[in-house]
């Protein structure tokens, strides 16, 4: 029982002997969930690829979508992944204030990303004198909004999830902080998927 002495039993957390992740069943569970989520995103991205390759008259994305704004959004999400991992590093040394600071910054990054996404969407939907309104009636528009919208929902859920972890941060210690690592996995996954969407929807 010595190796479970450090576990905080007040949270009702069981000591885990998951063969892959000895300290945490939750970590294994999150990885399995992310693998499934990757299949969902992958299915959408592959469908987009199939539709686009099969249609030589597909519009050129850089002529309809704003690359500079989205490049900054990509950079922002990468920064939020860095603040997330810094937050984990902080609680690994017992620095709870540091964890709170970096979780707060990660949430800020995610929220800014969502705001910019909302701005981009309203501009595309309302159109301008240079660009006709983009909606779901064309394949280009439909695949764009479904892909970025599905990802945006993940960012939003992630922000809510991160906020819950931040509100719960009083419980985490140097020896018991699995939940922080697990939320980090989810957030890095969201960043990773955006890297792929940015490449295949905006740049290619």
């Amino acid at each position: 029982m010595t190796n479970v002495a450090a576990v905080d039993h007040t949270l009702g957390v069981e000591p885990a002997e998951s063969p892959l992740t000895p300290e945490s069943w939750g970590k294994l569970g999150m990885w399995v969930f992310l693998a499934g989520d990757a299949m969902s995103f992958g299915g959408l991205i592959c469908a987009y690829a199939a539709l686009r390759v099969g249609d030589p008259s597909w519009p050129i994305p850089s002529q309809h979508l704003g690359i500079p704004l989205t490049a900054f959004m990509t950079f922002l999400l990468i920064c939020s992944s860095v603040t997330m991992v810094k937050g984990l590093e902080a609680i690994q040394t017992g620095d709870r204030a540091g964890l709170r600071k970096f979780l707060g910054l990660t949430i800020l990054g995610g929220t800014m990303f969502l705001s910019m996404q909302a701005y981009e969407w309203t501009h595309l939907i309302s159109g301008s004198e240079h660009h006709a309104s983009l909606g779901l009636s064309t394949l280009f528009g439909a695949t764009f909004f479904i892909l970025t919208g599905f990802h945006g929902c993940h960012v939003f859920s992630g922000v809510v999830y991160l906020t819950c972890i931040l509100l719960n941060s009083g419980h985490y210690t140097k020896d018991s902080h699995n939940s922080v690592e697990i939320v980090g996995l989810y957030w890095h996954f969201v960043d990773l998927v955006w890297i792929l969407i940015f490449t295949f929807v905006y740049l290619v």
Binding site: P19, L20, T21, P22, E23, L28, W31, V32, L34, A35, A38, M39, G42, G43, I45, C46, A49, A50, V53, G54, D55, P56, S57, S62, I67, A71, T74, F75, I78, C79, S81, V82, M84, V85, K86, E89, Q92, D175, E181, G184, L185, H188, F189, D191, L192, I195, L196, T199, F200, Y202, L203, V204
Partner: protein
């Protein structure tokens, strides 16, 4: 984590790599249309590189047991299979596509 003893990776270094690769990606996207195949190859390579950096270092896969990496690698493999399976349909579409007047 008491179980894995390794020096913490230099996360800022990974960040600089990710930022740098993003800049290169955007530069590549502005290559002329005549080099489109090269452009796509480079963009795919860069995207895979960035995704791998995030997965290996931020998501800690480099220091976990190999089986976890296998769980993470299964979706891309399955999806590539999926693309291969749908290829005849895509090829037919391209082959029989009639240019709109």
């Amino acid at each position: 984590m008491a179980s894995d003893e390794h020096a913490a990776p230099n996360y800022m270094m990974i960040f600089y790599w990710l930022a740098g690769l993003t800049v290169v990606e955007i530069a590549v996207a502005y290559l002329p249309a005549s080099m489109r195949v090269l452009m796509i190859a480079l963009l795919v390579g860069l995207a895979i590189a960035k995704a791998s950096l995030v997965a290996m270092y931020f998501m800690h896969l480099r220091f976990e047991k190999m089986t976890l990496s296998l769980i993470a690698l299964t979706p891309p493999v399955l999806l590539m299979l999926f693309v291969v399976i749908t290829y005849p349909d895509i090829a037919w579409r391209v082959f029989t596509w009639i240019k709109p007047i």
